[in-house]
């Protein structure tokens, strides 16, 4: 188990290193740089000073080496676009994305798993309806769901159509902030959660149907265990394995999907920050966002593997997932 975690950690470090270095060099080699933000009438001396401050006057490799050396001291440089340390910006954006992603994942679990148990263990109208709905949800990408939800919110005015906080909720009390957040959260979270919930439902239904075919189910039924008990106590536990496997993948989907949702609903998260940084070629901010994204991705995969090991003792014995 320790060897497995160690190997995963090594992979995480490698991923973060490669991803952030690649984006840094890519942004550096791209035509133009962030000093274009100064406008067309900036004095040449001013532009040169800004370039020197960001290390843009050095060679790409030299700049990269300096950046790596600083990252070793947890200093990710400054964002020219926001004129603030990258660490603060990325930390804040990651927290915002995490709120969105965690709520979406919880919602997807809360809807997907129970519905999957129902549609996997029963036949009839309910199961058919659930299957049809989840097939449609599976086919609606977050881009379209979030646009449709924003449209609904804009016409009905039941929920705010975008953003994360309203201006009138800035009185500093955290209860106000929380209540405000709770009105802004459902829309993006739902858009993000729908396809994932549908994936969970389909997987759970399939593996539940398979688990109910197993001999131990027949044995339990022969011992006189009630059908409800068989499904919830015996079959469900066995059917959880593929679900745990997909949690690791779901983190990647959440990260990818959250970009679109954040963009459409103006959620100030990591995806939006990265987009703005990329467009402005804000080199250290791009690399910081990429490093954070790589780290989240690796952590998500590790959690997925650990869940898998927890659900299936056979994997624990082997020591790797």
């Amino acid at each position: 188990m320790t060897a497995f975690v160690a190997r995963r950690l090594l992979f995480a470090v490698a991923l973060v290193f490669v991803v952030s270095s690649a984006t840094l060099l890519l942004t550096r080699l791209a035509p133009g740089d962030v000093t274009a933000e100064l406008g067309p009438f900036a004095a040449p001396a001013e532009v040169a000073a800004a370039r020197a401050r960001l290390g843009l006057d050095r060679g790409p490799v030299e700049q990269w080496a300096l950046w790596i050396a600083r990252v070793g001291r947890f200093d990710f440089g400054d964002s020219f676009l926001y004129n603030r340390p990258v660490r603060d910006l990325v930390g804040r954006a990651t927290a915002n994305t995490a709120i969105l992603a965690v709520v979406a994942l919880l919602a997807a679990t809360a809807f997907g798993i129970p519905l999957g148990i129902v549609s996997g263990s029963r036949r009839g109208t309910a199961a058919t309806v659930i299957r049809a709905v989840s097939l449609v949800c599976l086919s609606v990408p977050p881009l379209l769901t979030s646009l449709l939800l924003v449209f609904l919110a804009a016409t009905t005015r039941w929920l705010p159509a975008g953003g994360m906080t309203s201006v009138d909720a800035l009185d500093g009390r955290w209860s106000t902030w929380l209540a405000d957040l709770a009105t802004h959260l459902p829309l993006p979270a739902l858009a993000l959660a729908l396809p994932i919930a549908a994936t969970f439902e389909r997987l759970q239904a399939q593996s539940m149907a398979e688990a109910l075919q197993q001999p131990f189910v027949t044995a339990a039924a022969a011992r006189g265990v009630a059908p409800r008990e068989i499904v919830l106590r015996h079959a469900w536990r066995v059917s959880l394995r593929p679900i745990c496997g997909v949690y690791g993948i779901a983190i990647g989907t959440l990260l990818s999907g959250s970009f679109v949702v954040e963009f459409v609903t103006a959620w100030p998260g990591l995806g939006r920050l990265m987009y703005e940084a990329l467009r402005a070629r804000d080199i250290y901010l791009v690399a910081g966002c990429a490093a954070m994204g790589g780290w989240v991705l690796a952590a998500g995969m590790m959690v997925g593997d650990l869940l898998l090991a927890a659900a299936d003792p056979r994997l624990r014995e082997q020591g790797r997932g």
Partner: protein
């Protein structure tokens, strides 16, 4: 279920092929009197469908009124179009007009061409690259296999949307449409190949132990001939399934990139560039037809999902 899915996809493909004939108006044509015009209602009297010409009442309030005094009959099969309205008596806007007074329906029909062609090109690129890398890894084995497999797994892990974003943003933002097409197809190919390569590698690696491979080896077939003529054809079924999964994913990727302004310029009608006009929330309430491209995107993804349903295959992963 399967047939319904295939039918949906076929219909969209046929619409794309017949775009110049199906679209009542040229996609780039702007009707200055029809900015944000609502859909033109088609009325029926007996068997002759006709429309009323729309008159602009207030440009500010975007109010339009039907000129009921003079019905205009639809012209069938005129000027090489299925249905149209003579010059000066129209326009025929089946789904209304956008912010520049362009016919949304015609743009949707033409947009199917670009969106589908790009997705096809990206899928083709991913298949070729994936087959090459996977085939090589599976056939060569040993160190080459290890190296290629590690690279494949690494690219597979990366969140595709961000990679596409980073690659596209690293290039000049304003480019001619043809360059954008080639560029996006290349990016999609670079993103899609690992999934193909992983499966192809497994198939080729197990297939090369078979007797027919040894036989053709004994007959003196070189490695390339072996790979292309004998080993890769056995992975054809797998690649076909992957292609159906990649196609809708790439349609979505184009829509997303164009939506955030990193895809095609607005002059090129694609489903993504059309969705971009839905970005303005305050306008969206008054002009809900800006969301029209959502319908064909949904149809394609749903069609593919339906057609692979119940064959023990995982449904489309929405992010490529």
């Amino acid at each position: 279920m399967r047939r319904a899915g295939l039918t949906l996809v076929t219909i969209v493909a046929l619409v794309a092929l017949g775009a110049p004939w199906l679209a009542p108006n040229p996609p780039g044509r702007s009707f200055p009197q029809s900015l944000y015009a609502p859909p033109t209602a088609v009325h029926l009297r007996g068997l002759r469908p006709f429309i009323y010409q729309q008159r602009l009442i207030s440009r500010l309030e975007r109010r339009f009124e039907d000129d009921v005094s003079r019905p205009v009959a639809l012209h069938w099969f005129a000027d090489g179009r299925l249905v149209s309205i003579p010059e000066g008596e129209g326009p025929l806007l089946l789904l209304g007009a956008d912010a520049l007074g362009r016919d949304i329906f015609s743009r949707l029909v033409y947009g199917a061409r670009t969106s589908l062609a790009l997705a096809l090109a990206g899928t083709l690129g991913a298949l070729v690259l994936g087959a090459l890398v996977g085939g090589l890894a599976g056939y060569a084995g040993g160190l080459v296999d290890d190296l290629l497999s590690r690279i494949t797994e690494f690219v597979l892990v990366l969140p595709a949307m961000y990679v596409a974003l980073a690659l596209r943003a690293a290039l000049p933002l304003v480019l001619p449409p043809a360059t954008v097409f080639v560029l996006l197809a290349a990016i999609f190919g670079l993103l899609g190949w690992p999934i193909v390569a992983r499966g192809v590698r497994a198939i080729v690696a197990s297939e090369r132990e078979r007797e027919y491979v040894m036989a053709s080896h004994a007959l003196g077939a070189g490695p390339w001939r072996m790979l292309l003529r004998h080993l890769l054809p056995s992975a054809a079924g797998y690649m076909a399934v992957q292609a159906t999964l990649l196609l809708p994913a790439f349609i979505l990727a184009e829509a997303t990139l164009s939506y955030v302004g990193l895809g095609f310029p607005d002059t090129v009608p694609t489903w993504g560039t059309m969705l971009q006009s839905a970005a303005n929330v305050s306008l969206l309430g008054q002009a809900p037809l800006m969301l029209a491209p959502a319908a064909p995107i949904l149809l394609v993804v749903l069609g593919v999902n339906l057609s692979i349903q119940g064959r023990g295959r995982t449904p489309v992963q929405l992010e490529p």
